[in-house]
């Protein structure tokens, strides 16, 4: 044990405790920031992309629905104009949504699927336009028009389902990775906190035990001096701390009592 003044040891111990808590607070803050940043990135990028994909997927389904509405109700000029406009609106939304998403995604598989979808959607648009022209030219013969595009939306639908699935899988994987990172940080923090607290506890225990042991020896000497029991008394308490200094003072008192005793003995003899 280092021989330091008790006051110095107590101050050092106090500083150690304060430093430990500052370190713990800093570590906790840093961990919170890391977790927060990780989830912010996840929400701001992957979750947003998955949401964009779902919106585009719904738009595509609406576009197909608008096509069916054209075939079913297009014989009425007002409905034809209305559903044709809505069909093209959804078509534009699907195209721009898919292109924007292809630019935004970082997953190569997903980007590949989106590029395939954009191409398939372009082909489908041309086929719809052909069928539309037949529909108008045949005086609203929906059977003839439907025959030209029947089942053609299957390929882009399947492709976009795969995009949505892939993006959802990416989000799930990222959340799992984030949770693993949090668990790792938590374990590290627990180990550090446990280690530091344990270390500080051991140092504190050794310090207190050393002080109490030396105080006990000092008290034993003091008791014997108070009882004038100085025969064979050896004061072996030293050191630079307060107890050591007190022990040194005790040696003076011990010597003075010895001197008094010898003088008293001489006077009696």
């Amino acid at each position: 044990m280092l021989r330091m003044k008790i006051s110095t040891r107590l101050i050092l111990f106090f500083c150690g405790v304060v430093t430990l808590f500052v370190l713990l607070a800093s570590a906790l803050l840093a961990q919170t920031r890391t977790v927060s940043a990780g989830y912010a990135a996840l929400l701001g990028q992957q979750v947003r992309q998955a949401e964009m994909a779902r919106v585009t997927q719904v738009s595509f389904k609406k576009q197909v629905q608008e096509w069916k509405d054209i075939l079913l109700r297009g014989y009425a000029p007002a409905d034809l104009e209305k559903y044709t406009r809505q069909f093209h609106d959804e078509e534009t939304r699907v195209r721009s949504g898919a292109v924007d998403l292809a630019r935004a995604v970082t997953d190569a598989t997903c980007r590949g699927l989106l590029e395939q979808f954009v191409a398939a959607h372009q082909r489908l648009s041309e086929q719809y336009q052909g069928a539309y022209d037949v529909y108008l030219g045949s005086h609203f013969d929906f059977r003839a028009a439907d025959k030209l595009v029947r089942g053609r939306d299957r390929e882009p639908t399947d492709l976009f389902d795969k995009v949505v699935q892939q993006l959802n899988d990416d989000v799930v994987a990222s959340v799992a990775a984030q949770e693993r990172a949090v668990a790792r940080s938590r374990s590290l923090a627990l180990i550090l906190v446990g280690g530091l607290l344990g270390g500080l506890g051991v140092v504190g225990l050794l310090t207190v035990r050393d002080i109490l042991r030396r105080l006990a020896r000092l008290k034993a000497v003091s008791d014997r001096l108070a009882a004038a029991d100085i025969d064979g008394l050896a004061i072996d308490i030293s050191g630079p701390d307060e107890i050591g200094q007190f022990g040194e003072s005790m040696k003076g008192v011990h010597a003075a009592i010895e001197e008094l005793s010898s003088l008293a003995a001489a006077a009696a003899g």
Binding site: H254, A255, A256, S262
Partner: protein
């Protein structure tokens, strides 16, 4: 002779001097300041360190008596 210093002679002389200058109280104060009683002074070496301690104690007694 014990080791390279004489035993007792010089330190014991300090006690005689303290008794001469300050009486019995001086002896007791000398023991208190040096932490070595006259009995033990007769058993320890007249080492330069011990002599210096006794000289400083005597000086302190003289200062206290003078003050």
């Amino acid at each position: 002779m014990a080791g390279k210093y004489l035993m007792a002679a010089k330190l014991t002389e300090f006690y005689s001097q303290a008794a001469h200058e300050f009486g019995l109280a001086g002896r007791i104060k000398l023991a208190l300041l040096t932490k070595i009683s006259s009995e033990k002074a007769g058993a320890v070496e007249d080492s330069p360190d011990n002599i210096r301690v006794f000289e400083q104690a005597m000086q302190q007694l003289r200062t206290q008596a003078g003050g």
